[in-house]
Structure formats: C-alpha cells, structure tokens
Point group: C2
Chain length 200, copies 2
C-alpha cells in the first residue's frame, strides 16, 4: 500500500483549502487538521503558512509554464503551435481546478502575484509573443504588437476558467459538461486563429 | 454650495471600501465613518450592509449594460457596432475602476453574482451574441455559435481590466499610461475584428 508523506498530505490539504477559502481565510489548524498532522507540522516542514502557500501555488502552476514553453519551441508552424497553446490553457485549467481559484483569490486580495505564478505569467506571455513574432516574420500572422496580441490569446481561456460557475448559472454555458467544454475550446481556438491569420 | 445627501455619501464611501476590501472586509462602521454618518445610517437608509452593497454594485454597472444595449440596437454595420462595444468595455472599465475590483471580489468569494451584475452579464452577452448572429445572416461574420463567440469578445477587456496591476508589474504593460491603454484597446479591437470577419 502506498503511504503518503506528511509533506504531501499538508500540500494537498493546503491546495484545496487555499483554493476554497483564500490565504487569509485558511488557518494553519485547518490545514494540519485536514492533513492529519500535528499543529507544528506546517512550521516544521515549510517554515510558515505563507511559504507553504507559495510552494503549493508554484507546484500547481510550474507544469503549466513548462508545457506552454515546450510547445513554443516545439515542431509545427507558428499558428499550429499557438492553437496547441490555446488548447493546453483550456485543458490545464480544467484538470487543475484549484489553479483559477488561487489566481482569483490572489488577484482579489493583493496587487501582486507570488513568485511562482508571476514567473508563469511572464514566461507564458513571452512564449506566446515570441511565436506570434515568428509567424509575422514568415508572413503567416498579421501585423501588430506581439506582446499586446499575446494578451488577447491568454486572456480568453483564463477568464473563461475564472468565470466557470458564473457562466454556468447566468448564461447556461456549463463547462462541467464535456461537450460544452469541447465546443468552447473549439470556438476560442477558431477565434484566435482567425484573429491572428494574415489575409492571403 | 452643493450639499450631498447622506445616502449619496454612504454610497460613495461604500463603493470605494467594498472595491478595496471586499464585502466581508468592510464593516458598517468603516462605511458610516468614511461618510460622516451615524452608525445606524446604513440600516436606516438601505436596510442592511448587503442591500447597500447590491445597490452600489447595481448603480455602478447599470450604465454599462445600457450603453452596450444602446450600441447593439443602434446604427452601423454589425462589425462596426461590435468594435464600438469593445471600445465601450475598455472605456467604461477604465472610468469605473471600482467595477473590476467589485467583480473580482465577488468572483473570489462567492459562486454567484448579485442581481445587478448578473443581469448586466446576461444582457451584454445577449447583445453581443445577437449582433454576431445579425452579421452572420448578412454574411459579414464567419460561422460559429454566436453565444460562444460572444465570450471571446467580452472576456478580453474584462480580463485585462482585472489584471491591470498584475500586468503592469509582471510584463510592463501599464494601462494607467494613456498611450499604452489606447494601443491595447486598438490591438484587442483589431484582434476581435479579424476574429469575426468572414474571409471574402
């Protein structure tokens, strides 16, 4: 039988509690209680609640940054890679539902992002802008500032992940339904491809 | 000299405090203190802190919904009207900086929106989808589900308003600079127009 370590259990409990109640709304006692650890375990293993929070956020977001960077330098035309990046945004944010919650909590309570998500934002934005610039050089992508055009791409899947519940309730577009999710991913992909492509 | 009413002062104080500290983070005492009113004034004039919050949110968002609806049924081709709607999103969210803060606070702490913003979302989404459908019928806008395509349009300016501070710090795109803001509005407008237009 597989026995998880105390650190693993603390991280898992912290991720779910921070995503649900935010950093301020989550007590060390709630985390250690949910992890079945003693009250001193957060300090012992991570130093502080803040350090645990940043560790958990970094672990949750690092593979996202790596996946986008890998597509950016991978095979395929610039437009093909950008389409895969859009799909990766949707898939990753769906498979890691705590991540949009953490981002939302963070943006609502603080003006700045912790180091992990900040580096992911800088890296993903830079990757997308670089692929756009590459497509402009080879003539497949229309003119425009690649750093601003990159924001048009990233903002759609992130906003739609953040608004998941609100959209389901207000306009009956429910991303927990896999067909709706596939249709929405396809719609945003098509919008982004049309938004980027140079008229031939 | 112009003398503001107690209700006005309470609403103004409440708007700024709710935007800054959220609903839970704002006490009735803080609101009445900032408004120079007595502690019972919130209950007397609005019934409850919650009712004051919903009033303030509704007042802040109602002209936005009305402006978008008016453009939707106004003159111009469907693409022209959609371009004006994108510009209105940017302008309104810039001129009402409390609004993205309120939306963010609300999305972070609750699964649902209060009545005012909920109706604004339903109305703006419906307006954009209807203008897209009109453009599809006349042949100027490419095929696709108008209700999903509408999300691609609305999500960009809202996300960029929500991420204002984060983007300025992380990727040095600072919307408090009017040239940058104009460039970003123009970039998103061009992206949306290219994303919608049927290839001729």
């Amino acid at each position: 039988m597989y026995e998880t370590s105390v650190e693993d259990r603390l991280q898992r409990a912290a991720l779910s509690l921070f995503a649900q109640d935010g950093f301020d709304g989550t007590s060390v006692r709630a985390i250690t209680g949910a992890a079945g650890a003693n009250l001193g375990a957060v300090t012992y293993y991570f130093g502080s609640k803040r350090a645990l929070y940043e560790t958990v956020f970094e672990i949750e977001i690092l593979p996202f940054r790596e996946a986008v960077a890998e597509i950016g330098r991978g095979p395929g035309t610039p437009l093909e890679r950008l389409e895969r990046i859009v799909q990766t945004f949707f898939e990753y944010l769906h498979e890691h539902p705590a991540l949009p919650r953490l981002i939302l909590q963070e943006m609502a309570t603080s003006a700045d992002l912790p180091e992990g998500p900040r580096r992911a934002l800088v890296s993903n934005h830079g990757t997308i802008a670089a692929v756009i610039a590459e497509g402009q050089r080879e003539g497949s992508i229309r003119d425009g500032d690649p750093r601003l055009m990159a924001l048009s791409i990233g903002s759609q899947p992130i906003m739609l992940a953040l608004m998941r519940t609100v959209l389901a309730r207000a306009v009956d577009i429910d991303q927990s339904d896999s067909t709706t999710r596939a249709d929405l991913t396809e719609s945003v992909s098509a919008f982004v491809m049309a938004g980027l492509r140079r008229d031939s």
